[in-house]
Symmetry: C2
Subunit: 151 residues, 2 copies
DNA sequence: ATAACTCCTATTAAAATAGTAGTATATTTA
DNA sequence: TAAATATACTACTATTTTAATAGGAGTTAT
C-alpha cells in the first residue's frame, strides 16, 4: 500500500490540474476543504512537492499553489515517488526503496524476485502512462456513464 | 509493500514444495536455517498458515510441517492473503483490506479508484497464476541460464 | 524416559504513519 | 502602513503496525 500522503497528493494535484490555465493557483485551505484533506497535513505534503519541483507557490494574500507542468505531463508514478510511496511489493525489486534480501544468496537466481519484478513492471506501466489529465478525463467519462445509467 | 511475514511464508512454503512427495515434512528449525528466517518468527507464521489450512503439521520428535495441497495448486496470491499482505495500493480497491475513502463522495465516479483497480487486477493476475511449482521451475531456469552464461 | 518436536500466549522494541502546534515570513489590499 | 491572508518551516506527539522474542505446555518417536 502507498501511504495516505501519496493519495492526498494525487487528489490535491488533480484539484490544481482542474484549474490549470495560465498558472492559475489555489490556496491550501481551499484544496483541503474541497478534497477533504486535513489542512495542516496537506500543507506539509504540498511543501514537499514544492521542494521536489512538482508544484510552485505564491506567498501572501491571494497566494497559493499551482502546477509547474501541464497536467498531461504529470504522471501518477512521479507523484507517488515524490511522496515516498513504494510501488513494488518487496524491497528487493523496488526502484526507490531498494534493499538487499538478507536471506537471498543470489537475487538473480530467486524465482520470487523474478515474479515480483513482473508485478512491479505491470504496476509501473499503468501508473506511468496515466497523467493528471487522464484522471480528469476518466472522471468525466465515469460521470457521463452514471448519468446515462440513471435514464 | 507486503510484510516480511508474507515473503517468509512464500520462502518457507517453497522449501516445503521442494520436498513434496508423499507428504514429506520438514521441521521449523530446518526451514529456518535453510531459508535464513528467524526461527521463532517462522514458527508463528507457520502456525497461522496451519490454522488457515494451507499446511499441516505432525507433532513430536521427527515431526514437522508439510503441504496439504500440490505445489501446483498453491498460488502466491493465496499465500500473501493468508499472511495478511495487501496487494492493492490503496484501501478502497483492496479485496481483503477494503476501507471506504472518507474523502471520496462517490467511489464509482473516482478516476483514481478506477486506475488503482487496474493496477490491482494486473498484480493479482500475475500472482494468482503463479504457483509454488512455478517458482521452483523459474529458479531452475534461472540457474541453467547463469550456468550457460559462465561458459 | 528423554530428546526432539509443535502449540500457544504474552510481551516488547523499533519504526513508520498521520496529524498537530506554533511561529516566522511574504504579499496584497484598503 | 496596518490588517488580513497566505505560505515556510521546525518541532513535536499519538497511534498503529511490524518484527521478533520468551518460555512453558503438550506430543511423539526411539
Amino acid at each position: 500500500m502507498i501511504p495516505k500522503r501519496s493519495k492526498y497528493a494525487i487528489k490535491a494535484l488533480t484539484a490544481l490540474a482542474k484549474v490549470y490555465r495560465d498558472k492559475q493557483h489555489m490556496s491550501i485551505a481551499t484544496i483541503a476543504e474541497q478534497e477533504r484533506i486535513p489542512r495542516k497535513f496537506l500543507e506539509a505534503i504540498l511543501l514537499q512537492l514544492r521542494n521536489e519541483g512538482m508544484v510552485n507557490s505564491k506567498m501572501g494574500a491571494n497566494g497559493g499553489y499551482f502546477l509547474v507542468k501541464h497536467p498531461d505531463e504529470i504522471m501518477l508514478s512521479a507523484i507517488i515517488r515524490s511522496t515516498g510511496g513504494p510501488i513494488a511489493l518487496i524491497p528487493c525489486v523496488s526502484l526507490n526503496f531498494y534493499e538487499e534480501c538478507v536471506e537471498c544468496p543470489h537475487e538473480d537466481l530467486c524465482g520470487l524476485h523474478e515474479v515480483m519484478l513482473e508485478v512491479r513492471e505491470a504496476s509501473i506501466h499503468i501508473l506511468s502512462k496515466t497523467s493528471l489529465a487522464d484522471l480528469i478525463l476518466r472522471e468525466k467519462k465515469l460521470f457521463r456513464k452514471s448519468e446515462n445509467a440513471r435514464k
